[in-house]
Assembly symmetry: C2
Homo-oligomer: 358 residues x 2
Amino acid sequence: MASWKDNVRRVEPYVPGEQPKVQNIIKLNTNENPYPPAPGVEAALKAFASQDIDLLRKYPDPSASALIDTIAEYYGMDSDQVFVGVGSDDVLAMAFLTFFNSEKPILFPNISYSFYPVWAELYRIPYEKQPLTDDFKINPEDYYKDNGGVIFPNPNAPTALYMKLDAVEDIIRHNQDVVVIVDEAYIDFGGTSARDLVNKYENVLVVQTFSKSRSMAGMRIGYAFGSKALIKALNDVKFSFNSYTMNATSLVAGVEAVKDKEYFEEHCKMIVATRERAKERLTELGFTFPDSKANFIFAKQEKVPASVLFEELKKRNIFVRYFKQPVIDQYLRITIGTDDEMEQLFVALKEIIDGYSI
Amino acid sequence: MASWKDNVRRVEPYVPGEQPKVQNIIKLNTNENPYPPAPGVEAALKAFASQDIDLLRKYPDPSASALIDTIAEYYGMDSDQVFVGVGSDDVLAMAFLTFFNSEKPILFPNISYSFYPVWAELYRIPYEKQPLTDDFKINPEDYYKDNGGVIFPNPNAPTALYMKLDAVEDIIRHNQDVVVIVDEAYIDFGGTSARDLVNKYENVLVVQTFSKSRSMAGMRIGYAFGSKALIKALNDVKFSFNSYTMNATSLVAGVEAVKDKEYFEEHCKMIVATRERAKERLTELGFTFPDSKANFIFAKQEKVPASVLFEELKKRNIFVRYFKQPVIDQYLRITIGTDDEMEQLFVALKEIIDGYSI
């Protein structure tokens, strides 16, 4: 083997959900929003393409201040309490690199966003997974021990289970010597954000995204709230990595997506309503699931193995997510689509379940 | 001090050139292209905004294959020899993290892109700067010693000096045990790319960008050519960092920017012609400079200190780049603008120089 290979960082990359290139599929596998972005986004991109194309020859604003100011104003924060990145994955990757430099292990749930151990391995951060309870709950007491940092999603993924704010604060209170990251990718579908806690605790970072509730996965925008001290540290690392992470179109589109409060709230409500109906229908179809406050449901059928359902749905051009791993390999993670898409899913599921024999 | 701060990565971030928000300035400070992107870019973004806005709700293609295939085809490479990122800074940052994991120091020129030591510090990579000759040349023999990796720009920045391909290959040939990165941000303005050497040497990564010659700094697109083994290692790290780095608009705009060969070549020629005229005019104004093959000139005036020229130009709304650091603090880095912009620069310079008294 050529010896330059000795110096290559060896990693086991995260595998994202499939993005099939075929048309006319029902895509319920990557927790995308079934509705288009706010109308202002289309208008802003049209205006940019017509009037501002010459701006592309220049570097974008490295501080992304138009977007940061808009997010800060919307949520009643100061601009120096807000950080933005290329999706919440970019924000989280920077946060791991910035804050998790202890020799003690960082802590996160054993069933959780599968990117956490990947970032830890990438940056050689020691970590220790904390088991969920049998009913998939995070037990705050598991996070009382000495550690190098804490991260958990709320609601958790792929379980969709939401933890109440007093339990989140309990974990934070017991971890005043490390940075605690609350990953709120799915918070807008019924949970209460820990956002306000960043004013109370200097060591808390709350990460959110435009990819789910704001229908902008394709634009790659994530953001974080934190104390000025945390946001400054994050920016120092960001400016040591890439001065200009947010491109010109993501900045204009992002601003418009935030501004339209009515569209945002209305479409979150629609998804929640579809999800609540889906809970009833899935129960009728013999599924059980932890109660979801996210835009997906993590469900297990009493009779048919998840792997069979996954493959049979795929044959019918319906994509859901299946994790072939211990404890959760009988579950499917089903994104909430439109009512029409969900109806087609239920019809297909009924057909598969009725036709199944061991 | 709160003890969570003990675990924060301490860095000295790179400081990009100013992006002044005022209008009607002559901006010759960040080596941007004075001409707009290829017309196809505008058309593609308009079409995207009109017809494909719904795509934004979905994640973009994580493999960026449309863009990668287009770049590969244009340059006669295989797609698995091409990597793309959010500007060449993103590509270079990933490359440092991926390839420079030796305990031996990496080598780069002492006067060079000032992001190199920043990435090295960020990832705690040992490094050793190699002095340029008195006339700012890279001496290949300085790179014969034992090391953990080699990186240099060609043409170099901020000197604009180009090194011939046989000297580049000489450095590569003497460094077969480490990865050698040739940073070709400015190669399209008159140099010969080391691109073909990636077919001859498995350990060579050649990095280029859309930010300069393709007028797309605002879109954040950089790319690299390498052997399949190098590109796979880079992708593994990229997919351990952020699955979806390139947003939907950058993918469509990038494809169109590459496709228009005629526009690209014509505008590179225009910049080269303006640069050659600028060399004459600057000489008349009492400047000396290393010969430039880039879209900027690194010039020193015989009488007036660079800091004075910098400040006086700024008062006249003309921005150039000044590096307040040893050896080069008598130089200005002047980006090549349009002929008209350059004319205004020369008039201002003449006025400042004529009016200067010690």
